[in-house]
Amino acid sequence: MFRTILNKLNPVELTCGFHTTACLNEVRLLTRLRVVDNSEIGMRAMAEGKPPKVICVYNKQRVGFIGDRVMVAIKGQKKKGILVGLKQTQKVKVPKFDSNNIVLIDDNGTPLGTRIHVPIPTILRTILKEKTHSKGADYTKLLAIATKFV
């Protein structure tokens, strides 16, 4: 009560010391993600309310962008996944999602599930094709199990 009166008397105090810029919603170390495929481990982790945490982002910036490979800690295991939708502000014509979505894959790029039940951005086609090399992992298998593109 006393404090509020004080605040009212002294409105300069209201311009607070800490900054209030909008958050960037970046995918970085220990970000919680949402598994959107129907793999066994992913479904169970989401149902239990223990979504996976990022423990590594495989790029130079260490901030995950669309189509980047990440390692996640899920139900006490280490799994790899591909970011298929981000909360962060995107470039023009690239969709921005309400959650950070991930599809689990194994080391060869084969997805663990058989179906993705949310829309996938079309730009992922080009990005994943560029990331696939003839001898390395083939990430384009992920596109085959998508149900809808936006």
Partner: protein, 305 residues
């Protein structure tokens, strides 16, 4: 003697009159008079309008907000603005960019090198319009398969094939970012929605729907933004939130003339801009009306055949 005096005075007055006239032709006075006459004629045409001094040219600022430049004097450049306006009109001659507002439902088809059919269509509610000139952009939001998706488009993007307005509407607020925290049914629209055509001459309807928010945590402090379109915000607020809202209120800002002035383009500049582009915009509108009439006329023919 007296006669010569009289003559000289007459000459003097004549010279005075002439100089005055010259001055007038040099200044912008006659143009203004012309404008006034234009207004009068247009008023006579509409005849429903009240005799109150409302310039019909200025009404364009709601339908085509991107034609007005950014009021910040740092970024003003009259030549660039003029060139941009010409480019915008050129683009509008190429594709039909309809009149829409925040809260309208749009379908945008773009050329997409990433998709299989090389085109991509997205339907959604417009939650934001911003930017001036060729940088004007709008954001569409939809919920697809229980997943909220937002796409930002440039209005004058050359890859846009078609912008279709499925429903022209306004909402109670200028920006609808609160739909991100609202229940998903308020931003769900099916992709095969049919366009709803309003009868000609009706004003743009305002949809008075009030959305229900999901419980906290929210993306922003909606309670501090004086939003009209939220119905159940009070039930989620704590006592502290309410106190803070009261303390943060700025009721004096609506009387701050200087702030208003810095946010807007003055009437004189606006009339210049609108008189420059109005005739072309009117022509485009007429062409659109003609094409819609053709479509409505040809529809029964196809049914018969």
């Amino acid at each position: 003697m007296a006669v010569t005096l009289r003559k000289s005075t007459e000459l003097f007055t004549v010279a005075k009159w002439l100089t005055r006239r010259d001055c007038r032709t040099l200044s912008s006075l006659p143009e203004k008079a012309k404008l006034a006459s234009l207004e009068v004629t247009e008023k006579a045409e509409t005849s429903r309008r009240r005799p109150k001094k409302v310039n019909p040219l200025l009404e364009n600022r709601h339908a085509y907000p991107e034609f007005l430049p950014d009021p910040n004097p740092k970024w003003r450049n009259s030549l660039r603005e003029k060139l941009e306006r010409a480019d915008m009109l050129k683009r509008r001659n190429q594709i039909d960019i309809p009149e829409f507002y925040v809260g309208s439902i749009l379908a945008v088809t773009i050329a997409d090198p990433h998709s299989q059919g090389k085109t991509n269509r997205f339907v959604g509610i417009c939650i934001e319009r911003k930017g001036c000139g060729l940088r004007a952009e709008f954001t569409l939001r939809n919920v697809v398969d229980h997943q909220g998706v937002e796409v930002r488009y440039d209005l004058y993007d050359p890859t846009i094939h078609k912008i279709q307005v499925l429903r022209v509407e306004k909402r109670l607020d200028d920006k609808l970012f609160y739909l991100r925290d609202a229940l998903p049914e308020y931003s769900t629209f099916s992709f095969d929605m049919d366009p709803e055509i309003l009868p000609e001459g009706t004003p743009v309807p305002i949809n008075p729907v009030k959305v229900e928010l999901k419980p906290k945590p929210w993306l922003e402090r909606w309670e501090r933004q004086e939003l009209q379109g939220i119905s159940n915000i009070e039930q989620y607020l704590t006592k502290k939130d309410k106190v803070r809202r009261e303390l943060r209120k700025t009721p004096w800002e609506k009387y701050d003339l200087m702030k208003q002035y810095r946010k807007t383009i003055p009437i004189e500049e606006q009339t210049d801009i609108w008189s420059e582009v109005n005739s072309q915009l009117q022509q485009l509108q007429l062409a659109r009306k003609k094409s819609t009439r053709k479509r409505t006329f040809s529809a029964p023919k196809t049914q018969l055949g």
